[in-house]
Symmetry: C2
Subunit: 432 residues, 2 copies
Amino acid sequence: IDAGDGPALNGLLDPLHGADVADLIEQLTPQRRGRLLRLYSGEIDAEILSEIDESIREEVIEALPREVVAEAVREMDTDDVVDLVEDLDAPEREEILSALDAEDRVAVEQSLTWPEYSAGRLMQSEVVTAPEHWTVGETIDFLRREEWLPDQFYHVVLIDPRRRPIGYVTLGRLLSSPRATPLRDLTEDSFRSIRATAEEADVAYLFNQYHLISAPVVDEADRLVGVITIDDAMSVLDEEHEEDILLLAGVGDESSISDTVVETARQRVPWLGANVLTALLAAGVIAFFEDSIASLVALAVLMPIVASLGGNAATQTLTVVVRGLATKSLTPSNVWRIVRRETIVGLMNGAMFGAVMAVVAYVWFRDAELSGVIAAAMIINLTVAAVGGILVPLALDRMGQDPALASPTFVTMLTDVIGFMAFLGLATWILL
Amino acid sequence: IDAGDGPALNGLLDPLHGADVADLIEQLTPQRRGRLLRLYSGEIDAEILSEIDESIREEVIEALPREVVAEAVREMDTDDVVDLVEDLDAPEREEILSALDAEDRVAVEQSLTWPEYSAGRLMQSEVVTAPEHWTVGETIDFLRREEWLPDQFYHVVLIDPRRRPIGYVTLGRLLSSPRATPLRDLTEDSFRSIRATAEEADVAYLFNQYHLISAPVVDEADRLVGVITIDDAMSVLDEEHEEDILLLAGVGDESSISDTVVETARQRVPWLGANVLTALLAAGVIAFFEDSIASLVALAVLMPIVASLGGNAATQTLTVVVRGLATKSLTPSNVWRIVRRETIVGLMNGAMFGAVMAVVAYVWFRDAELSGVIAAAMIINLTVAAVGGILVPLALDRMGQDPALASPTFVTMLTDVIGFMAFLGLATWILL
């Protein structure tokens, strides 16, 4: 399509939603992307630009003519502008901000003063407010008069004279109530405001937990500074999940399908490097028992089974714990129950698969003592896997680290080392 | 707290949101949960009941007096009732449905005729509609007159005389427009309706992709049958993610923090069992080279490193591919680019860590040939890991299977077997 040129492209892309066009741009190779942007630049609007993935956003903005970007930015809500400029360098950021009118520019700059990944960065400054003493009729007349209303809004926020939000009214209640009703009588129980400094992950949790649609954001003095809507919270929830999955798999948390070979390799090398170190540690344990292996090669055949099952069992526990922490369903009040549960499950599974492996080993090598050793090693390693799988992420979490980040490496090291040590150590002690 | 009895509990739980009370109930041990439900039963309302996690819902409903459940169910929107009863057995379901008034009951039963995990199960039947020829004023008067309006609604859906949705108007537009404006002039571009038979995962994707707030649901004849709101879509997105994470980690997709020891063990055993089989296969490969290991024990020391790095590299690729499929960012048009990228990255990382391991092996064992063998084996295994990590989930996806389900087991088997085979095979051929 973009190999040939022309307005055929316009015809094809025009009926698509901005999010789909953005996806299409992401999927192209960098060269074809550049060509498409040159051909299509006149049609790139606010909708498309705010949907472009972070990983290629800088590239796209640079490829576009300045007027196109400026025009698009003027159409956006302030939260989308913040999202767009926060990763840009100072001169480029300045250029985009200068396209905004004074009021929006102040709002964007204020939003940028809040820490990254905070509610302050997520909010939009366009909020529909009403003084607490207004009636339904006054509010509707006000809404009909105003021109600047945001594209989407779901609540009218009641504020006191010091601009502190004290409640909100859904538009549904507003529409279905007689004009004379005071707004104060229509406020929702679910009302809760969010501090601008709150972490965005916690914001997403609040929306999901309490089924919020929008929530006012306040500064340290409890004054209203903006509003967060559920679609932004949904995006955050999506990103947080993605990050957890990628971290647990040992892929950088910014990995994207549009990354090039070099970016992909660079993200993955640190994790594989850490893996080499832990694998060498495990190899050191094996080397310590070289003589035992030389005199009984069956040990070399069976030892990876003990380590592998331990690693898998640890990953299971670990994942449940990391998710429990992320969803706040694992709390100080039930942590001991979970530690106990996982330990018992580890012991049970160890006993069960230990028995299975004892039978297999006996059939294979006709050596009852070897069978006993592998059974004992399995019980030890699966119990260690369970305990490590829960304590390591808990410890990381308590130290203020992301438990998804380093847990897998730590815990696999633990089960490899303990697995080889228990199996080869017991074998050396009992069999030789 | 619930060890002693009394109304103190009421005082403590009363100010909490239903979702928090539900979380609290989930975190208790089964015995304490029963006691709490007996003490607190009078206060269990629709809000709490619809928030209770699936895994303990049946238990909770059984523990509560029938009148309490009936009262709570009558307060719920129909989508929450559907969610509540769909996993119950026929007699219990019947009992709950009989508490509903005739109209709601019909709506719930109709919803239950749609397949599980479809849009039809997710929707609520309370929709605010208006004929296409109405004006803003007529609509507002209608809304003020009606009593049955849903708790939350964000759009008025325009329908034609055959009840087919033809557009929708946000309440914000409705409120800010003069009374004489025809609704038809205010409809949103983002309008799209969803088939009742659509899968809920696709519904969540649509909401996230197009920033929808609510979307009408239609039957095969395009007639309006209900509406799905973003909070339900957000829950589905959350569950889908959770399922992916848990499946990738080899934990049953229904795992929950409130599971007992037996439930937990039962979920994990099949995965560990599959792992035993694949580990035995790898052990078989090692056994095939027993003589080589007996004459050069260094092989036993180094072989787990080759397998372990391959497994990690495979998990990285696999996760990126599974996520790419889930988010629909991996499509037929870019799949070959990704296959090429991952293969090149696999080769590069193989060469790099192969070189590292060659140096380490040389320093350790002073054997240049052994160094060459481990380098070659690493290149082979990391390339196989990359290719397997992408082709296995793609193949499963094409066969209509969930790629997160079986991929990890398959791919780890592949890297274990190929890792041991390449390393021990090359060593036997070159060194011995």
